[in-house]
């Protein structure tokens, strides 16, 4: 696997800082602006941004899941934009 760039998005309560700085908006913008081949690392908390929901949301863009590692409370999801 070759990687052009790696971008990280945190979907956690800690990352939710102000009412105008929404993690979901960052996820959307990151996916929108990513180039083909870019890998996006999503660090999330299951109660705040359930991984099953995030995976479905990500499917709106041409992507493939590269890796998923979770313990039921938090997870790291790696997605490559096609």
């Amino acid at each position: 696997m070759w990687v052009l760039a790696e971008k990280k998005v945190e979907l956690t309560k800690e990352a939710w800082k102000t009412c105008t700085d929404k993690p979901s908006a960052r996820l959307m913008v990151t996916l929108e602006e990513a180039s083909s081949g870019d890998v996006i690392v999503v660090v999330g908390e299951e109660d705040f941004a359930p991984s099953s929901m995030v995976m479905k949301l990500i499917s709106r863009w041409p992507t493939e899941i590269v890796d998923f590692d979770g313990d039921g409370y938090s997870y790291v999801l790696k997605v490559r934009k096609l």
Binding site: D47, F48, P50, S52, V54
Partner: protein
């Protein structure tokens, strides 16, 4: 009201969106778009400054807009209507005017509520800080409803203004404005209503409500952005100097003995500094006509049905959906805010967007209310208007049902 027929007047709906964000801003009917286009193409000129026909034609249209709005809210006369940019600016202008004229001074109090939109809190807080007055917060109950039963114990001769949101932009709760006005007036305080979420959705009669001031936005009631209204009782407004001076606000400015003297213009012009929102006023006129043709009582009734149906259908999804505010549609109007467990509301908003549903997510400019409701990360807010039908609610609830199925293990 035939919502399906109404929908045909709103071209934006042709793209297939289920629009449930009218509390933020409404869609625009063709008649409003067309009125503004025709005016710009044929009748546009600056108002009140030209003797040429075009300027007089534009001035007539602009003045007529004041009259149409005044009748819409049953004001005594057209000159009680001041056009501003939006509700936020209307409240700001009012707060500054009262401070500028020493109606609010050192040691005085202004009462607002914990349920209010920031636009009805921050202007008063800032003015109070400047003049040495105090803003007191009327608390809310566990449903986010203002505890109006405490108001009598809070008001005193120090209270100069009681300012509050007529309808909450989060819970949709509609306060009994006349009851509040009577308590406020019993100590000589003025009553300022934030009507941003009530004027577009129900029949408003400022005299029946016994209000002194009312603020609302054109863009939430089918009109364009860039125009809002500050209505005020004539006998109060005519004794106040505007805090903003400039073009269009004066009858005459003279220099005598090294001093500049200002003779302020009549109402409402003295409060409309600079070139006003002329085209926007034409759009607002058409918006009001559209609403009046449908009938405000019918609009209110339609929205209550939608609200009631939404509450019932969301409850069917079980206790994972937490509705903020009262669950009784009789006391609220057109707005249902909710959360899904601890899931970030904006993630839910993205989910719904993927199904073609537009809702607002976040704190809705009501941070203290969300904190009080135990929803510090915000909420998902569905809000309705004349072009929404029961099918829109079904689509929302079905999508939420799908989401619950998807994340059931994580909840």
């Amino acid at each position: 009201m035939d919502c399906k027929a109404v929908r045909l007047d709103f071209p934006e709906l042709e793209r297939g969106v289920t629009y449930l964000d009218s509390a933020a801003s409404s869609l625009k009917p063709r008649s409003v778009i067309e009125a503004m286009r025709v005016f710009m193409e044929h009748s546009y000129a600056n108002v009140h400054r030209g003797v040429y026909s075009l300027s007089m034609e534009a001035s007539r249209a602009y003045e007529e807009a004041h009259d149409v709005v005044a009748k819409f809210i049953n004001a005594k006369s057209w000159d009680e209507v001041v056009f501003v940019k939006n509700t936020t600016e209307a409240v700001q202008l009012l707060a500054l005017t009262l401070a500028f004229n020493n109606v609010i001074g050192r040691g005085d109090e202004v009462i607002v509520t914990e349920a209010d939109h920031h636009s009805n809190i921050l202007p008063w807080v800032r003015v109070a800080r400047i003049v040495g007055a105090k803003v007191r917060l009327l608390p809310v109950d566990s449903n986010g409803v203002p505890r109006w039963e405490l108001l009598e114990g809070m008001v005193s001769e120090k209270t100069k203004v009681v300012a509050f949101s007529h309808a909450s932009n989060v819970t949709g709760y509609v306060s009994d404005a006349r009851r509040v006005a009577r308590i406020a007036h019993s100590v000589g305080a003025l009553v300022a209503l934030d009507g941003a979420q009530s004027v577009p959705h129900m029949k408003i009669d400022v005299r029946e409500l016994e209000a002194d001031f009312l603020a609302f936005s054109g863009h939430k009631m089918l009109g364009p952005t860039g125009i809002g209204v500050l209505w005020g009782r004539r006998d109060i407004l005519e004794n106040l100097e505007p805090p903003l001076g400039g073009g269009g606000t004066v009858k005459r400015v003279r220099l005598g003995g090294g001093e500049i003297t200002i003779e302020w213009d009549d109402l409402p012009w003295r409060f409309e500094a600079g070139t006003p929102p002329i085209v926007e006023a034409v759009g607002l006129t058409e918006a009001v006509r559209y609403l009046e043709e449908l009938g405000m009582e019918d609009i209110e009734s339609h929205e209550r049905k939608l609200t009631s149906y939404t509450l019932r259908r969301l409850e069917e999804l079980g206790d994972k959906i937490r509705i903020l505010g009262p669950r009784d549609a009789r006391v609220k109007l057109g707005i249902v805010a909710f959360n899904v467990g601890n899931v970030d509301p904006s993630m839910v908003g993205l989910w719904l967007d993927q199904q073609g549903i537009a809702v607002r997510t976040g704190l809705h400019c009501a941070h203290m209310l969300h904190d009080k409701l135990g929803a510090s990360n915000g909420s998902v807010r569905a809000s309705f208007y004349i072009y929404n039908c029961l099918e829109d609610v079904d689509k929302l609830v079905d999508s939420m049902g799908e989401l619950l199925k998807t994340i059931t293990k994580q909840l």
